[in-house]
């Protein structure tokens, strides 16, 4: 699994395993864990992947494995159930809410979707959410890459003080800063505007911190060489820094996208007219207006699909990002 990142530990395990394991493990010892997992299918004992690196004594019994499978299966079904219900009920005629009858996947109709997509509001909310998320991601990545590069590789007076004061902002809870931020945006006539919605979200301390940590790990020589070749600072940033920080941009980009897409309180406060709502705010308002369940759920599915796609594409970045940095989900 992509989460085992401790190479030395793995190598040690591989060595121990040789006593009881098939020879194929010996051959791959010392290689990075992921490639080993990928290269191995079922081993010659037909026992599948579980046995690599696990010493014989710590391997579960057959009964234990069955029990584990059942437990995990039940929890997984319970976890997925709301998603299943959301999709199926959104495909039912309005009023089909009885349990368990309405959960059966037939008599489906897309009428709720025509209602949702044919309305004036939901497509507008989708556009608003896309603008908020995409501009939010691009802006946050650019600003935090610039600042992170400067904090990591440039020497300027007040650098440390400035960096730590940036970082300390992680400690101040959102609800303390939210009210003054709203007042400021209101005074600048930013309520019900895109910039009022987006701009405050670009000051992201966690993003600057992660960028700086990542860029600090890059060797100075890469930048020095370009400088000797006569590249300007702007060229160095675009041609050398940006390509090198792609991994952290992918991780951070996925998270920032999720945060923006799912954000609720700030868009609720700033987007006061119907036209300026994001999907989360809009769907919450549908819920409160006693719109039929199938229509509300169709709206939820429309809002959920992009997140689900982003999760499928960026899943590796999400799980590795959480494991490596504890970045909040």
């Amino acid at each position: 699994m992509s989460l085992d990142t401790h190479g030395t530990h793995e190598a040690r395990e591989a060595r121990e395993v040789t006593v009881t394991e098939s020879p194929s493990v010996v051959a791959v010892k010392g290689r990075p864990p992921r490639s080993r997992l990928r290269s191995r299918g079922r081993d010659r004992f037909g026992a599948g992947r579980e046995q690599d690196t696990v010493p014989y004594a710590l391997r579960g019994t057959r009964r234990g494995k069955v029990l584990r499978g059942v437990l995990l299966g039940v929890v997984a079904l319970a976890t997925i159930f709301p998603f299943y219900a959301m999709v199926v009920l959104s495909l039912k005629p309005s009023g089909a809410v009885e349990f368990p009858g309405s959960l059966l996947p037939w008599n489906l109709t897309t009428s709720a979707y025509s209602d949702v997509l044919g309305s004036q509001d939901v497509p507008q909310w989708l556009i608003n959410t896309l603008i908020y998320s995409i501009v939010g991601v691009l802006g946050t990545l650019l600003l935090s890459a610039l600042a992170g590069y400067a904090f990591a590789k440039k020497r300027f007076p007040g650098r440390e003080a400035m960096f730590w004061s940036f970082l300390s902002m992680v400690m101040v809870p959102y609800h303390v800063t939210m009210i003054p931020t709203f007042v400021l945006i209101a005074k600048m006539n930013g309520v019900d505007t895109y910039w009022g919605l987006i701009l405050p979200s670009l000051a992201n301390a966690q993003a600057v911190f992660l960028m700086r940590q990542f860029i600090q790990g890059l060797p100075d020589e890469l930048f020095e060489a370009a400088k000797i070749d006569g590249a300007s600072e702007f060229q160095i940033f675009v041609r050398i820094v940006l390509p090198l920080i792609k991994p952290i941009m992918a991780t951070l980009g996925t998270f920032v996208f999720l945060w923006h897409w799912n954000d609720f309180l700030w868009p609720l406060i700033v987007g006061q007219s119907t036209d300026m709502r994001t999907l989360t705010v809009g769907i919450a308002s549908l819920q409160q207006q006693n719109v039929p369940l199938n229509v509300v759920l169709a709206g939820s599915v429309v809002a959920f699909v992009p997140i689900f796609m982003a999760y499928l594409v960026g899943q590796r970045y999400v799980t590795e990002g959480v494991a490596a940095t504890g970045i909040k989900g």
Binding site: A76, F156, V281, L297, S300
Partner: protein, 301 residues
């Protein structure tokens, strides 16, 4: 700004190259710095100051000392929303951590399908609670799935969201559902640090699963558990989205939380000074709980 003031003297000593470096560095930080001043540093200070005023967006703020805080102390709604928030947290945080721990232990070793299970468990974390809430309203409805299952096991049937005792547990279940996958990933990463030799040695000495968990796995997970406890407590104290959509704080304020009160005070009544005071109270509470958790988890060494 003292740092910037001493800039010319230091730079002259370092020569033209260093001066150029410094200028570039400052230039690169500048956009982020401006935004941080406007939307983080400024509002942080203003947020504290506003808590001591009667600001209401219409007129300029007047300093009122501790008035907001004495008002908060005498406000029965504050105590009620504090109670609801604490109750929610007391159910959600242990529930999330126990579920995360169990599932991390079960999916710890790679086996066929382990990756799929982890992906499924993490899916609610990336899902907006607003969207999830629209379907959880149905799940918790009078004749919905939850009530039916409760009927089978002899629990409380009927709509939990309409019941003033069961509404908070219902919200806590949604909270746990949406958070345990995150805890699971954190604990999985940390489980890599459990010394394998120790586990094997304990097994050879005849230690059972519980003993191995208690004396070998648990001690190495302590930093991760502390981290999770703090993160989850902070998140639970700030519960709002699900409450807003699922119950609107009802029935009869039975699920009215602190952030909901802050939202109403600030953006329904535009009583911004009072709302800021609630925000500060929330901040202080979070800090106190973090310190207590540090003491409890740290002590057991």
């Amino acid at each position: 700004m003292a740092a910037v003031a001493e800039q010319p003297r230091r730079l002259r000593r370092r020569g033209p190259h260093a001066r150029r470096e410094a200028r570039i560095g400052l230039l690169f930080v500048l956009p982020a710095f401006v935004l941080f001043v406007l939307f983080r540093f400024g509002p942080s200070i203003a947020g504290v100051l506003l808590g001591f005023t009667d600001y209401s967006l219409m007129d300029s703020p007047t300093f009122t000392g501790l008035d907001n805080f004495t008002r908060l102390w005498d406000d029965p709604v504050f105590w009620s929303s504090l109670k609801v928030t604490v109750l929610y947290t007391v159910i959600t945080v242990p529930g999330t951590i126990v579920a995360a721990m169990g599932l991390a232990l079960l999916t710890r070793r790679a086996f066929r399908g382990s990756k799929l299970f982890r992906s499924i468990f993490f899916l609610p974390v990336v899902t907006s609670l607003v969207l999830a809430s629209t379907v959880f309203i149905w799940i918790f409805s009078t004749d919905g799935p939850w009530s039916t299952v409760m009927g089978w096991v002899g629990g409380h049937t009927g709509s939990w969201l309409a019941d003033d005792v069961f509404v908070v547990p219902a919200l806590a279940i949604v909270g746990i559902w949406s958070r345990f996958g995150y805890g699971m990933l954190i604990l999985l990463a940390s489980l890599q640090n459990v010394p394998r030799e120790l586990e094997e040695a304990a097994l050879t000495d005849g230690a059972g699963p519980w003993q191995r968990f208690r004396y070998i796995i648990l001690p190495s997970l302590k930093p991760a558990l502390f981290f999770l406890a703090v993160i989850e407590t902070t998140a639970s104290f700030q519960v709002f989205d699900a409450v807003y959509v699922m119950t609107g704080g009802g029935p009869a304020n039975a699920s009215y939380t602190l952030v909901f009160q802050l939202y109403d005070a600030g953006f329904k009544y535009f009583d911004l000074g009072y709302a800021s005071a609630i925000g500060l109270a929330l901040f202080v509470l979070t800090l106190i709980v973090a310190v207590i958790q540090r003491l409890v988890i740290g002590k057991e060494k």
